[in-house]
């Protein structure tokens, strides 16, 4: 059993945040849910800087990443995480409205762990979110937490 690390939800749309949180709450996950409102904030969290510089160290269990985001978009966040040896192991799930094949292809090229198109149907959406939360938040084993010290020295 994995220890309960937080789930990082990166989503700019308040309604989507509310619905996603409702869905995650429904399956009574014990994980904390951290919400970042854009790509820059997500990177701040992941690299423990800005408003997150004092957060407890450790990677999230999973990053649920929307594609279209203000400032730094989802593909850029993904590219950043997957090209950095320290963050490459963090599971990233694209959770998006896009059915664009090019986005899908690009995401997999960048090393995404899963690509989920949000279903319109709420039940399906709930099931998807719950499944994601359960799998990535609880069942999936991630590599041991990295030592935070070298990360603090990193320049980005």
């Amino acid at each position: 059993m994995a220890d309960l690390r937080p789930i990082l939800l990166v989503e700019d749309n308040l309604k989507d945040i509310e619905l996603t949180l409702a869905a995650l709450a429904k399956c009574q996950l014990a994980n904390d849910i951290v919400v970042a409102r854009d790509g820059a904030e997500a990177l701040d969290y992941l690299y423990c800087r800005g408003q997150y510089q004092d957060r407890p160290p450790g990677d999230p269990a999973v990053v649920l990443l929307d594609l279209k985001l203000p400032k730094v978009d989802g593909l850029e966040v993904l590219a950043k995480l997957k090209t950095d040896g320290l963050t490459r192991a963090v599971p990233v799930v694209m959770l998006t409205s896009s059915r664009e094949e090019s986005d899908l292809v690009r995401s997999y090229e960048l090393g995404v762990n899963a690509f989920v198109v949000k279903p319109v149907d709420f039940n399906a959406f709930f099931e998807a979110i719950q499944g994601l939360g359960m799998f990535w938040g609880v069942l999936n084993e991630t590599p041991p937490r990295s030592v935070p010290a070298p990360r603090l020295e990193r320049k980005t």
């Binding site: 309604k15 279209k68 896009s98 319109v120 149907d121 959406f125």
Partner: protein, 743 residues
Amino acid sequence: MVSAALTSDLNLDLCAQEPIRTPGSIQPHGMLVVVDPLNRCIVQASANAKALLGRDRGSSVLGLSLAELVGESAEDQIHGWLANPDSSYLRTLDVNGRRLQVLRHQTPQGIILEFEQPPASEGETLEAYYPRVGRFMEDLPAYENVAELCSAAAREFRQISGFNRVLIYRFDEQWNGEVLAEDGDGVLPSYAGLRFPATDIPAQARELYRLNRLRVIPDANYTPVPMEPSLHPADGKPLDLSFAALRSVSPVHLQYMRNMGTLASMSISVLVDDRLWGLVSCHNATPRRVNAQARTACDLLGKVLSQHIGARDRGAYAARRIDVKRIESELLARIAANDSFQSGLAANANIWLKIADATGAAVLHDDTLFTAGVTPAPDRLRALAEQLQQRTADHFVTDSLVRQWPEFEDIVDVASGVLAISISQLHPSYILWFRPEVQRTVLWAGDPSAARQEENERLTPRHSFASWKERVKNRALPWSQAELDGALEFRNAIINFVLRRAEERAELTSQLQRSNRELESFSYSVSHDLRAPFRHIVGYTQLLRDRERSLSEQSQHYLDSINEAAASAGQLVDDLLAFSQLGRTALSMGPVDMHKVVQEIVRSVEPDVRNRQIEWRIQSLPPATGDAALLRQALFNIIDNALKYSRDRSPAVIEIVGEQRPNESIYIVRDNGVGFDMAYAHKLFGVFQRLHRMEDFAGTGIGLALTQRIVERHGGWIEARGAIDRGAEFRFGIPRQGDNVDG
């Protein structure tokens, strides 16, 4: 050299190689000396030149000064005359007591002076000829055509020269001479209307005639007078006599004259635009001298005739050019209104033919062939285009196609004359005009083919000048220069037209690409932003329902309706996006086991139809080549349709069969459902087209449009049959090879 040639078998080929410019001798009716321009001494002279000295001087003129040769007074006059090169060509001088006509011209080898004793009959003075020439010039504009003009000129030449017969003939493209006019006193036979074969005047002689316009031979039986020394002392070469009036002519030519029964001749070149247009040929049965004044008058007359013929030719050319230009402008204006220049030409066949005054025309371009009038068959046209492609020239013109390429003998009747312009350097693209064979009879003065065959006979070139009839075959009326130039201009216009169209197409393509990109970014936005609100509506209704357990039945119904509406709107967006993406996504081709695909589809729909009685009749299906996911989608939509429209049947019978044809695989899905009215069959595959009310059969109206799009992207076809309440049948074909697929 001349002496050697006299003893050998003479023929016209030999004549063609003779050194006619440097014969080494002159005719005996005058004397010739070459004067060194620096020291005025005689360096070369004809063997008879010592006669100039009078009775009791030395035996040779070589090395003498000009003054010593001709006397102080004549030398003085010649000296003044040489200083003024613009003055007249001819003087009559008193040379050591004799009145001699003197001609001079400058050559790199020295000043050549020629002395001629005037004929016994002094004739008229030069001035006396001018009124005659003047009247002739005044009458010129009245003559209708070149033949009439030449007839009048022939009369005039004979009056001035006093020869028995004057012929004026014109060269054709092959240098055969056609007698246009004749004037004679009956002593010599008439040659009117005859032709002289090109071999009669070798190319080098024609070139000499072009440079030196007037030649005289007073007596064909003359004995040549050699030059002494035979080679010029300074350069060691024989003297160039190209411009000498006394130049000795080829013995072959003298034989030719004797064969013709003409012992004296004078010929004057007619030059048009510096090209040898024809000859004025004067003959006498007996030896005859023509005084220098008469020769000068004839030379002037020849120039007048040349200029007038040139002016008429240019006038005719300009008139035809204007005519062609007018027709061409009209044609181009009409072509511009057409999609392609080929169809523009074809739609205006009469004007197209008129440009080149042709009876047939064809255009070959981009694998299309259009014709007008009477033309060879398409395969012969293509063969001709291939032949033309071997050449790199931008045009081709002939009045006898078989003379160029004998393999086209089968089309001489319609295409003896061909005028072709190339409109592409890369592909065999041509516009061609055709003229039919026009058979005519030509009278030859002597058999032109025999002229080359009488090698064993010494008395070449000609025994008989009796006319010889030849039927000219495989010939069309020749294309005029104006028509050729007009065609070349037309070629430029067409090439510009093609280029402009290509630019327009390129512009259109880039516009399409731009709007396509805009459309892509639009649908990208739609896929993100339009789906989200529907998802939110559905989500919040669900949350509300979960939260408020005590909603009234009415409220519950409203919530359900909101939910349904948003869900179907979301589905619509999804379907639309799938449809638009299909046009942009590349197919991933491969072999597809369609039988497996159908089994998988049936398994996937079974949970939804658990409560229905369905009788599946599935036969083994042939494999297909295509994009597996898309073909599955196409089949799924049809099967889903069949299930939907047969839901009131019990049992619903869904039949899925296939057929393997040589070039395609066919798949058929039949149901026993509500069917449709064939009158609306064409609407089945349109986006958002529905043949049933929404509340009867739910759906976005995109499924079949999507299926059709998929099938068409595979290069296949789809069709539907049905009748109301009697079921429907959908069948589609996918090509077996993937070659017709738009990738």
